[in-house]
């Protein structure tokens, strides 16, 4: 099933003429930067999910909020869809343009408006990069906790839209846990403050609702994030295991010992070897799996916890446990993990990154099932896993230049996501649904649940103009998807234990 917008099943869009929209926007917002020629539009045809590309109708590059507001009002009046884009690093096609839609680029709103150490918050424009916030807070001994691996480039507005995660979520939460207040604009140009400078706000928790809504409910125009004191120390343990099951058990044992690591990552053998070839992190290339366990906090506690974790790892059957001796070794241990995607990318012309979550106890069964699917589809899969919070990133290796391989990779990816749902997990932990997983939403949610999602959308955007076709599929799409997806009257993966 083609993933590009299909009016037949995704809903009809108003047919608009580029020249007319351009003329109306120029009249309403004379000083707004608008791109309209094919060569200027082309660079915006995709986000981080580059397999899907669509040239937008127009690209708008506002620098002031009144320009955004005027643009939204014009688009609302003309019934022209608006797709918001931040830095364009998203991995699920959430900022994939529409041929019939305006791409609203918020990247020029890149000022840090306030860093307030006494109140432990930073107020920033939506185009500010994630890492820039922590850099601005560092002189005060503070930082912004969520750290998606794209944090050098990704912008905070996009982080809010996607509810971005990172490697420290188990202890420090996702974006939604680290926000105080978000200013948004609706498609009608109404401005609203969600949340407050205090720890809560009256009324419904619209801050939580808008976080992760993928640009379907409103445009993020300002973000106030919480800042935390930088931990005094952080230490990293690297443990090798002869089997994935042992590594999985070690994760459960660490949690059972009452320890919540700042980060707890697992890599399988293919990922270990790829990372070692690329980064020379000192990883044990013979190991079936490694665990990286980071502990942070006050010196005395971290020292104690390191000893406890080491004992737990050894008891769980670790063949080797190494404590990073200094900051340089710690950085090297992490470098292997943080570069796992590009490292795996060196093994293959293309790779496709999945983002399912599962209950941790389902891990061994899920990895076995992925191995079987990998053989069935004739494509290799490397596994990188945020073991602490159950978020898997299987990387499917393929070559888009070989006829049929992309389609096979997509089919394998779909099966992996359905597997995650079957064991009680989710199709996406942090990358979002976007366009990429729109069909798998039909697996995770039934028609009644999707109907409620559409009702939420209706409350804020009655004409469905903000980012149509993303995040929530139409019932029509699910009906077609379901029709192609009959599993001989059986649940997918009948052998798996259900949780």
């Amino acid at each position: 099933m083609n993933l590009l917008y299909d009016a037949r099943i995704d809903g009809a869009l108003t047919h608009v003429d580029q020249a007319e929209v351009l003329q109306r926007l120029r009249a309403a917002v004379p000083d707004l930067d608008l791109l309209h020629s094919l060569e200027d539009l082309r660079p915006y045809e995709c986000d981080g999910l580059s397999a899907y590309r669509v040239v937008p109708l127009l690209v708008a590059l506002p620098v002031r909020l009144d320009q955004v507001q005027a643009l939204l009002r014009v688009c609302h009046a003309l019934r022209v869809p608006v797709v918001a884009r931040g830095a364009g690093t998203g991995l699920s096609g959430g900022a994939l343009p529409l041929e019939q839609g305006v791409l609203l680029v918020m990247a020029r709103f890149n000022r840090i408006l306030e860093v307030n150490p006494a109140g432990r918050f930073a107020r920033v424009q939506p185009g500010v990069r994630n890492l820039a916030i922590s850099q601005a807070a560092a002189p005060h001994g503070l930082y912004y906790a969520p750290d998606p691996s794209s944090q050098i480039a990704c912008s905070i507005g996009g982080n809010v839209a996607e509810n971005a995660g990172g490697v420290h979520c188990l202890k420090y939460g996702l974006t939604v846990h680290n926000l105080l207040k978000v200013e948004v604009m609706t498609i009608e140009g109404d401005c609203m403050t969600l949340g407050s400078d205090a720890l809560d706000a009256p009324g419904f928790d619209l801050l939580a609702l808008f976080t992760g809504s993928e640009g379907l409910l409103g445009i993020v125009t300002e973000v106030t994030v919480k800042l935390l004191p930088l931990p005094q120390v952080a230490r990293v343990l690297l443990a090798s295991f002869g089997t994935v099951e042992q590594a999985g058990r070690a994760v459960a044992d660490i949690i059972s010992a009452g320890i919540i690591p700042a980060g707890l990552e697992m890599m399988d053998n293919l990922s270990i070897r790829a990372a070692e070839d690329f980064i020379h992190a000192g990883y044990p290339v013979e190991a079936a799996a490694i665990l990286l366990c980071e502990l942070d906090g006050v010196e005395a506690d971290v020292h104690e916890d390191c000893q406890r974790v080491e004992a737990v790892l050894r008891a769980a059957g670790a063949t080797q446990v190494r404590l990073a001796r200094d900051a340089a070794e710690r950085a090297r241990f992490w470098a292997g993990r943080k570069n796992a995607f590009p490292a795996v990318g060196r093994l293959s012309p293309d790779y496709y990154c999945m983002d399912g979550t599962i209950p941790r106890r389902a891990l061994p069964g899920v990895l076995d099932a992925i191995a079987a699917l990998s053989r069935e589809h004739g494509l290799r899969v490397a596994n990188v896993f945020h073991a602490g919070d159950g978020n898997m990133h299987p990387l499917i290796l393929f070559d888009a230049n070989q006829p049929g391989e992309l389609a096979r990779a997509e089919a394998l990816g779909s099966r992996i996501l359905e597997l995650c749902v079957a064991v009680g997990g989710s199709i996406t932990g942090e990358h979002g649904v976007g366009r990429e997983k729109i069909n798998q939403m039909c697996v995770q949610f039934n028609g009644d649940e999707l109907t409620l999602f559409h009702a939420v959308k209706q409350a804020f955007d009655a004409h469905g103009l903000l980012n149509p076709g993303k995040n929530v599929p139409t019932l029509h799409r699910c009906a077609e998807f379901g029709a192609m997806h009959v599993h001989h009257g059986q649940l997918p993966f009948p052998d798996l234990e259900r949780f």
């Binding site: 400078d197 009324g203 619209l206």
Partner: protein, 350 residues
């Protein structure tokens, strides 16, 4: 005594009947938080028949319970496994239920450091305004598929649907805990809390009653011991925090109106007539006062906060500005088109 009983079919039948007859429902558990918000007239939908812990695996850090499960039962089961609800929910009554805890969205003294109820809600099951039984979120820590209905329902006071089941993130009880009393004036205490907030100290509760600053430290043995040495003061019974959370301190016995004021952290002293008790390190202040509602709300709004009247009376919740109010109504209208769920509980007009 733990009871395991799935009454979701009966709850759903009652919602279907209400939809068919167009009669409003007053959703309630034990009624322990009934003093919040407006009085609702309607047929009682009692969630307490639908109770029991559905699943709990300590190594997954997730507990799932039906809405009518007594909160005390959940806390006892967690304690037996060395875990807890780290947002320290107020019961405010003997029979407080899990559903009421989530619907009211109240968090206790640990909230500024550990997060709120909504921060720990991973998934919900609910009965919608169309009479359908739905599931959102799940039992995994990270889940960004679709809109976050579970967190939207948290603190919505039953105005968007009937919560029937909740999955919560739970956490281990830290190895060490010490409580301290420091003889500091209010202004000095607030200034100190602001300074300490920027340092990695294991503070997990901070309250000032006009006489002294009360602190709780939680973490590993080492950090708690060194924190306690550094902060000084005299030891305090740990039971103080439960008394604060449950409003059993003598402060709460005042016959004057009780207000909850939410303020930005780092706010200084607040000049209002009446008595104040500072909680959440300054972020939540209790006020007993006969001052006018308008005066109180204005004073708090100026500082970026909001005020809730805590004992039943008209207009308890802080009014919403436009266009926020309009979008609230629109959301209520979409999710509860017949207006049968707790009409007027949050705001009288809807």
């Amino acid at each position: 005594m733990s009871v395991d009983r799935d009454a979701s079919a009966a709850l759903r039948a009652q919602v279907e009947q209400a939809l068919a007859e167009g009669t409003p429902l007053r959703i309630q558990g034990s009624g322990s938080k009934a003093m919040l918000g407006e009085a609702v007239s309607g047929q009682v939908l009692d969630t307490r028949e639908h109770r029991g812990i559905v699943s709990y695996d300590p190594t997954e850090l997730v507990l799932t319970a039906r809405a009518g499960t007594p909160l005390a039962e959940v806390e006892a089961v967690l304690a037996a496994a060395g875990q807890r609800l780290s947002f320290e929910p107020p019961h405010l009554g003997e029979g407080a239920t899990v559903g009421g805890m989530v619907a009211a969205g109240l968090s206790g003294p640990r909230r500024p450091w550990a997060g709120s109820v909504r921060d720990h809600v991973l998934g919900t099951r609910m009965i919608s305004g169309h009479g359908t039984l739905l599931r959102f979120g799940g039992e995994v820590m990270k889940n960004v598929a679709g809109y976050d209905l579970s967190r939207l329902l948290t603190g919505s006071f039953g105005c968007l649907g009937v919560l029937t089941e909740v999955s919560l993130k739970v956490l281990p009880v830290p190895r060490a805990c010490r409580s301290l009393r420091l003889p500091l004036g209010q202004a000095e205490a607030l200034a100190q809390l602001t300074a300490w907030g920027q340092q990695p100290l294991p503070i997990s509760a901070a309250c000032h009653d006009g006489q002294a600053l009360y602190l709780r430290l939680e973490g590993g043995e080492g950090s708690v011991a060194s924190g306690a040495d550094r902060l000084g003061g005299e030891p305090l019974e740990d039971g103080y925090w439960a008394d604060l959370r449950e409003q059993r301190l003598s402060f709460f016995a005042s016959p004057a109106a009780l207000w909850r004021l939410a303020l930005p952290s780092g706010s200084g002293e607040l000049d209002l007539p009446g008595q104040q008790l500072i909680d959440w390190g300054g972020g939540q202040r209790w006020l007993t006062s006969d001052a006018g509602a308008e005066d109180i709300r204005q004073a708090v709004t100026r500082l970026g906060g909001h005020a809730t009247r805590y004992r039943q009376g008209p207009a308890g919740f802080h009014p919403l500005p436009e266009p926020l109010q309009r979008y609230h109504r629109s959301l209520k209208q979409q999710l509860d088109p017949q207006g049968i769920f707790n009409p007027g509980r949050l705001y009288a007009e809807w």
